[in-house]
Amino acid sequence: MHLIRLVDVHKAFNGLRVLDGLNLTVQQGEITVILGRSGTGKSVLLKHLIGLIRPDRGQVLLKGVDLARLPERELFSVRKRFGYLFQHGALLDSLTIGQNIAFPLQEHTSWPRSQIEEVVTTKLAQVSLPGVEHKMPSELSGGMQKRAALARALALDPEIMLFDEPTTGLDPITTTTIRQLIAETVRGLKLTAVVISHDIELALALADVIAFLHQGKILTQESPVSFQLSPLPEVQQFLKGEPD
C-alpha cells in the first residue's frame, strides 16, 4: 500500500530545473533509500514530502491527500506525524541539546517534565551521545550535532521518518550504530522511513527499496539486490564511482 506517492513533480529555482517530472512511491512500513549524485535535488525532494517546498507542478500525495495544495494550517497537523532530520542538523542554537530534543515533546505532548527528561536521556544514549544535555549546539562537533538532531527527529517516535544523509561525516563505527538504530526503530515500531544517502553500503544494508534520482527524475526504484544488477549505465556508473 502506498503511503506517499509523488506524481509528475516539477520544481525549478530561478530557471534551474531541479525536479523535472519526478514520480516516486513510498510503501508503508518500508525503508526507502534515495540515492543520487550531489546536487541532483535529493534534499529538495525530501522537503516536498512535508510541504516545506511546494512543487511548481504535480502532486505530492500522502494517503491520497495532495500536500501541494493543502492550506498551511492543515500542513501543520500533517507535519506532526513526521520526523525530519536536516542535512546539517538545524538544531536551534539558542537552546541546549537537551532542550532541543525536548522541544517537539514540549510542543506536542502534555507529558510531565520528568518523562520528557527521561526520553531526552534515552534518545541521546541511543545516538551514542550520553551526557551532553546541557551543552549548546555550537559546543559539539558537526557529527555530534547531526546525531543530536537525529535524536530530536526520533523523539516523538513519528509515523514517518525523513532522514537527509543521517550518516554523512560519521566514523565507520558510529555509522553502523546509527544504521542499526534506524533499522531497529523503523522495523520495531512498524514505521516508514525515507533516507537520503550517497553511501551505497548503507543503502544496501538498510533499504527495502532503493530509488535512484538522476536529472530530476527517479530513474529506477527497486530492491537493493536488483538495484545492484541494474542495467542502467547511470546506476552502474554511480555504483562503481566512475568519473564522467
Partner: protein, 258 residues
C-alpha cells in the same frame, strides 16, 4: 528610453514598498491570530522580555541622561534671549516626555535589539532552523516573531519611562547645578507645563514604535536568503527601515495626537 527605464525603476520601488508593507501587515495579523493560541511559552517569552527590556536598560539610561542634559543646555541658550530661563524645566520635561524620550529610546532599542533580532532570525532562516521549526509543526511566527513583537510592545514604553525620568534628572542637574536656575522655579514650571497626557501620549507613541521596530526586524530576519551576506543585508535593512519608519510614524502620530 532612459525615461521609461526611470519610470520602471520608480514603479518597482513603489511596488516593493507596497509588498513590504503588505507582508508586514500580514505578519502583524498572523501575530494577532497566534496570540491567543497555546502553547504559551512563558519562559521563552520572558527571555525575550529580558533581552529587549532589561539588557537595553543601560544604554537607554545613558542616552536619556545625556539627551536631557543637552536639551537643558540648548533650551537655556534659546530662552536666555527673552529672559525665559525659568521655563527651562518645563521645556526639558516636555521635550523628553513628548518627543525625545519615545524616539531616542526606540532608536536605541532598534540599534541594540532590533538588529540582533534580524540577525538571529536571519541566521536561523539560512541555517534551516526556521525550516526545522516548520518540520516540527511549530509556526515561526508563533515561536519567533510573536514573543519579540510583544516584548517590543511592552518593553519599549517601559524603557521610555526610564529614559524620560533620567533625562529629566539630567536636565535638572544641568539647569539647577550648572546653570544656576532656582530649583523651586525649575520644578514648579515643569509640573505646571507638563500634563499627564503629555506623558501618556509619549508612552503611546513608544508603544507603537516598539511594535514597529520588532515587527520590521522580525520580518526582515525571516526574509533572509543565502548565507552570512544575506543575514548582513537584512540586519542593515531592519535597522534602516525601523529608524525611518519610527521617524515617519512619529510625525504622523504627533500630528494626530497633539
Amino acid at each position: 528610453m532612459m525615461f521609461a527605464r526611470l519610470l520602471a525603476r520608480l514603479g518597482d520601488l513603489f511596488l516593493g514598498l507596497l509588498r513590504e508593507l503588505g507582508e508586514m501587515a500580514m505578519l502583524l495579523v498572523n501575530c494577532l491570530l497566534w496570540l491567543p493560541r497555546p502553547p504559551y511559552r512563558i519562559r521563552h517569552f520572558f527571555g525575550q522580555l529580558e533581552f529587549i527590556g532589561v539588557r537595553s536598560l543601560f544604554i537607554v539610561a545613558l542616552t536619556g541622561l545625556f539627551s536631557g542634559m543637552v536639551l537643558a543646555l540648548q533650551a537655556y541658550y534659546g530662552f536666555r534671549k527673552f529672559g525665559g530661563e525659568s521655563l527651562l524645566g518645563g521645556a526639558v520635561a516636555l521635550s523628553m516626555t513628548r518627543e525625545i524620550g519615545p524616539v531616542l529610546t526606540s532608536l536605541m532599542v532598534t540599534a541594540r535589539a532590533g538588529s540582533a533580532m534580524a540577525a538571529e532570525l536571519g541566521t536561523m532562516r539560512v541555517t534551516e532552523q526556521v525550516d526545522a521549526l516548520l518540520a516540527m509543526a511549530v509556526h515561526p511566527v508563533h515561536y519567533l516573531a510573536l514573543p519579540r513583537v510583544l516584548s517590543g510592545l511592552i518593553m519599549v514604553p517601559l524603557l521610555t519611562v526610564v529614559d524620560v525620568f533620567i533625562g529629566i534628572l539630567g536636565g535638572y542637574f544641568v539647569g539647577v547645578m550648572l546653570l544656576g536656575i532656582n530649583p523651586g522655579t525649575y520644578m514648579q514650571k515643569m509640573v505646571e507645563m507638563v500634563v499627564a497626557s503629555d506623558l501618556y501620549n509619549g508612552l503611546f507613541k513608544s508603544m507603537v514604535f516598539g511594535l514597529l521596530l520588532a515587527l520590521i526586524s522580525c520580518h526582515q530576519g525571516l526574509k533572509a536568503r543565502g548565507g552570512a551576506q544575506g543575514v548582513g543585508l537584512v540586519t542593515t535593512r531592519a535597522v534602516v527601515y525601523s529608524a525611518v519608519a519610527i521617524l515617519i510614524v512619529d510625525y504622523m502620530l504627533t500630528a494626530l495626537l497633539f
